[in-house]
């Protein structure tokens, strides 16, 4: 099947080549970090987790969101998602791998990573996070492989895969829940220590993931003959709407609890996020952008007229995705450390080196999605009759 990724037009190869260059730059930046230590990042004694761990947290959500296409299709027999499930699963696989890479580049001693397996520590949530993430990866690889294979052969998927697909649904929930527990179990960090963290994570994941999937559908619809039709896109848009509304609701719950109880330890973090604290207002413009994007997205999504208009929907999806990325990929982690338990307010902003590594990891993810989609779409091209002839003619002419 992999050979399908090796034939493509110029556009395809330009895109792949571009990603490879970005990955190469990221890799060089990583070598620099390996040689000098994590001191090349903007992290410090007070802010010990930053951009890498934040991207990890955000991407766990994107990975978990595959469940939003798998669940309606397999559990409620919602046929319109048929063509999308595998695309969702591929996004999940790529996201989980990016998550693992982000953890890896954040480690002080990356070559000791096996210690987590050699000395399993059930009392550490990091152990469980590793367990659920790798389990989720295995499940999705297996499911996509089997279903794609049957699709290629034009037969129904084997019966034994169904329970595994069903298992992947609670499993997807578990990866984001355990990731939230990683934070919400720490008494030292008031900002994270909230029971709504896991539900909040899930709500934001179920908004940002499907929003991304809609955008991906728009892109591949433009460049290939793939089209799942209008209906599943609209269904996804509804999912984004409800999840986004619920996400905002949960954030407001949090804000109320913190502001009304007015415990200084809890308020300070929110001050840092939205007003700035002791002259440190690095995140303030970002957070307000996130708020405005969220409100804009909600208005566009709730109104059926704008939601049904696909170009407006595209704008709304970009707004949802960007808003949640700022919230999780920038705000969530650093704010837990600002102020520190001893009241220190230390500025943190990712350095260039850190950003290049992160962009490199994202490029690896994009490359994986591209290759997976290429394979799937070429296979599908073979299945449908008119496309089959066209594809053969094209392959024939290049050979």
């Amino acid at each position: 099947m992999l050979e399908k990724a090796l034939v493509g037009d110029k556009k395809y190869w330009t895109w792949v080549g571009f990603l490879l260059v970005v990955i190469g730059i990221g890799f060089i930046a990583y070598l620099r970090q390996l040689a000098n230590g994590l001191t090349v990042t903007g992290l410090s004694r007070d802010v010990t987790w930053g951009f890498y761990i934040a991207q990890f947290t955000f991407l766990v959500g994107v990975a978990a969101s595959a469940v939003m296409v798998v669940l309606p299709y397999y559990l409620h027999n919602y046929k319109a998602f048929g063509k999308l499930t595998i695309l969702g699963e591929f996004v999940a696989i790529s996201s989980v791998i990016m998550c693992m890479l982000f953890i890896f580049v954040d480690m002080g001693q990356p070559f000791r990573i096996m210690n987590v397996i050699l000395h399993p520590t059930p009392n550490s949530l990091m152990f469980w996070d590793m367990f659920v993430l790798s389990g989720y990866l295995v499940l999705n690889v297996l499911i996509s492989r089997i279903t794609l294979d049957s699709e290629r052969k034009g037969i129904a998927p084997p019966g034994w895969i169904k329970p595994i697909i069903l298992l992947s649904i609670p499993w997807a929930i578990s990866i984001h829940t355990v990731t939230a527990f990683l934070y919400s179990g720490l008494a030292a960090r008031a900002f994270w220590m909230t029971a709504v963290l896991a539900p909040r994570f899930l709500a934001s994941a179920f908004a940002s993931g499907p929003a991304l999937l809609i955008l991906i559908v728009f892109v591949i619809r433009k460049y290939t003959r793939f089209d799942p039709g209008k209906e599943p896109v609209q269904k996804l848009a509804e999912i984004v709407t409800y999840a986004m509304a619920f996400n905002i609701f949960l954030i407001l719950m949090e804000v109320f609890t913190v502001l009304y109880s007015s415990i200084p330890e809890h308020i300070e973090h929110f001050q840092f996020l939205f007003l700035g604290l002791h002259g440190n207002n690095t995140l303030v413009p970002w957070m307000w952008t996130s708020v405005i994007l969220a409100i804009l997205a909600l208005i566009l999504l709730i109104n059926p007229k704008t939601r049904r208009n696909e170009s407006v929907l595209g704008v709304a999806c970009v707004a949802v995705f960007a808003s949640i990325w700022i919230d999780k990929g920038l705000g969530m982690v650093v704010t837990g450390f600002t102020p520190s338990p001893l009241g220190a307010v230390t500025k943190y902003w990712p350095t260039w080196n850190e950003l290049l590594i992160a962009i490199g990891v994202y490029a690896i993810g994009f490359l994986m999605v591209t290759v997976f989609y290429k394979i799937t779409l070429s296979l599908r091209g073979e299945i449908s009759a008119p496309a089959k002839i066209e594809e053969k003619a094209r392959v024939g002419s290049t050979v």
């Binding site: 230590g37 004694r45 010990t48 480690m107 001693q109 000791r112 008494a187 001893l342």
Partner: protein, 258 residues
């Protein structure tokens, strides 16, 4: 034949391993004859080690840093110019940072300006131990919370979990930043976490912690909490002492007499 050869290789391998092993052990023994692998006759034994900091005495000696200097020297603690990379085992904090939930304004007038000596509290219920995914941080039977620098993967989860900011990460290679290397204590590598260890290596040799020994004012007192006749117990009996963030249930074993 095949079996014979395999057997031969196994024996050869084992022999080589044991030679290397013995050599490594022999080397380490020659470097540190009083290595804590060996039960030292005069080693100090406690059931629950604890520290008492007498702030009344620290108050008199505002600018004194003897305890900190001693610890830095004994444990090869690097001194970086950039505070971002900082490694600290014992240091001073303002009262309101060390005790953020304590009633202050008028009740503790006078104490507010006193620099508070802080270090790892060797909590009885340590969150740093709970979160560590590799058991690189663990608690000894005598209550000392220890670090295994060879095990640590540098994930810094323990740093996020410690409510007292007691842990430092080696953002860069510490060795070039150690003023004078003390050969009796290992230097650390980049990428691992470290913190105060209540001088476990000195207790094993029958010595008191370096900071306690260096404090001429006797503001730092170390001892066994489970021994009713110990000095720490006597001090806690006769004075009012507070602990940092007791509401978190970590049960810190560093007490501050106010």
């Amino acid at each position: 034949m095949g079996i014979d050869r395999r057997k031969f290789l196994t024996i050869a391998g084992l022999t080589a391993a044991s030679v290397i092993g013995r050599k490594a052990l022999g080397d380490s023994l020659s470097v540190a004859p009083e290595s804590n692998l060996l039960p030292e006759e005069n080693r100090l034994i406690g059931h629950r080690w604890a520290m008492v900091v007498d702030l009344r005495k620290c108050k008199e000696q505002h600018n004194c840093t003897k305890c900190i200097d001693a610890c830095n020297a004994v444990h090869n603690i690097p001194q970086f110019d950039n505070p971002k990379d900082e490694v600290k085992w014992i240091w001073k904090e303002h009262f309101k940072e060390a005790f953020p939930n304590q009633e202050k304004e008028y009740i503790l007038e006078g104490l507010l300006e006193t620099p508070i000596t802080v270090m790892c509290n060797h909590c009885d219920n340590p969150p740093c131990v709970r979160v560590c995914p590799t058991q690189a941080t663990w608690k000894r039977e005598d209550g000392i919370v220890m670090m295994d620098m060879h095990r640590c993967i540098g994930c810094r989860y323990c740093v996020a979990a410690c409510p007292y900011g007691s842990r430092s990460f080696n953002w860069r290679d510490p060795r070039p930043f150690i003023k004078e290397i003390n050969k009796d204590y290992p230097t650390r590598t980049r990428g691992v976490v470290e913190k105060c260890n209540f001088c476990a290596e000195r207790l094993a040799r029958g010595q008191m912690p370096a900071c306690v020994e260096a404090c001429e004012e006797k503001a730092l007192i170390f001892g066994d909490l489970e021994d009713p006749d110990s000095e720490v117990r006597a001090l806690l009996r006769e004075n009012f002492a507070i602990r940092r963030k007791p509401n978190l249930g970590t049960n810190p074993e560093v007490y501050y007499i106010v």
